[in-house]
Symmetry: C2
Subunit: 218 residues, 2 copies
């Protein structure tokens, strides 16, 4: 059986319709179900599973809130159901910030594509993911390559996390609470961040991080 069964997850009906139209026309690919958010996606996946018709690939939009959870949760299905491997998750999103990419890869996504990619690229990514491979948009791949090549200040995941909260205007105290750590630790992280970004205050850190696309700005 070489018909690839795709599960769409995106909160925009327009985008779902687009993907459906775009992928549905292609022979060998069938869109078997859709969901508007992470919760519905998990329910849908479970249902398909019990029907004995599991999806082969999950195509998921990455939103700040529930998106990431979706990936990790999908991964957890794998752990729970021993014999049945979880479908690979292919992220399809608008932004290409380091923070997003790293988070997605770390959460176990097997691909990261941008929404403005040409249809053919998206199709290829789906095929590749279904075959157990990985698929990165050229822009994303380039960014990752750059990260490894440049011994440039490699920020840790935690530090990027911090940076993101920083950019929302939160004070050290608020950040500490949010991350369940002490203010002292926040300050330590900040000192490290400043050092790595070659900067000496939080505002400049945000400016540099945003410019280097370490964090996203909508």
């Amino acid at each position: 059986m070489n018909n690839i069964r795709v599960f769409l997850v995106d909160d925009h009906p327009v985008v779902r319709a687009g993907l459906r139209a775009m992928l549905g026309d292609l022979q060998g690919i069938t869109v078997v179900a859709e969901a508007a958010d992470g919760g519905a996606a998990l329910a849908g996946l479970a249902k398909l599973h019990t029907l004995g018709e599991p999806a082969d690939v999950v195509l998921m939009d990455l939103q700040m809130g529930a998106g990431m959870d979706g990936v990790t949760a999908t991964g957890r299905i794998k752990a729970g159901e021993a014999g049945q491997p979880a479908p690979p998750v292919l992220i399809l999103t608008t932004f290409d910030s380091d923070a997003d990419i790293l988070a997605a890869v770390e959460a176990g996504a097997s691909g990261y594509m941008l929404k403005d990619a040409p249809p053919e690229q998206i199709r290829q990514a789906v095929l590749s993911a279904a075959a157990g491979g990985t698929a990165l948009a050229p822009e994303v791949a380039a960014r990752l390559m750059g990260r490894i090549r440049n011994p440039e200040p490699a920020l840790s995941v935690r530090e990027i996390q911090l940076l993101e909260l920083l950019a929302t205007g939160m004070g050290n105290r608020a950040i500490a609470k949010q991350l369940f750590i002490s203010e002292a630790t926040v300050k330590t992280h900040l000192v490290h961040i400043y050092g790595k970004l070659g900067v000496d205050n939080r505002t400049a850190a945000i400016a540099v991080a945003a410019q280097r696309r370490i964090i996203r700005r909508p």
Copy 2:
């Protein structure tokens, strides 16, 4: 002739496909052309015009860069070609910041819808725009109402100037030097800015200002 001729403008092939599928099914609506950016859109509109088959509605995504220009430019067609009215422009975007909405309305858009709106709402908006009416997404309408009820204090030119330097990560001392004023004055301005933006520190001010598009971010 009651067949509505729609022109799609969106840089995401996925979204264009979605809209095409979503609107094309509906009787009385035909998607006659598409474009990926403002420039191509203008060229396409002109071409349709010379063919004697002008579009009735332009459905346009609003991107930071060229999107807004597209609306104004479309408006300019109207001014140029005396007898031929320009097609109404319906904005369809992801974000609903005050600045975006205001800018769109000011530029002459005849509608502002959000991409996560249900298909039916989008169809209604297209029909309404084609009929010469306006269409606002409920969320957008609510936001506008809120603005009228309690208008946000406008920042002075000087204050925006400050904000811009602020966003580069400069300290008060540096800003003072740059603007040839004293640190005291910088602080005074900042206090005013914080008040107007409803914020209490510089980082949050930048976040809000950026979100409201009060300052640029490349």
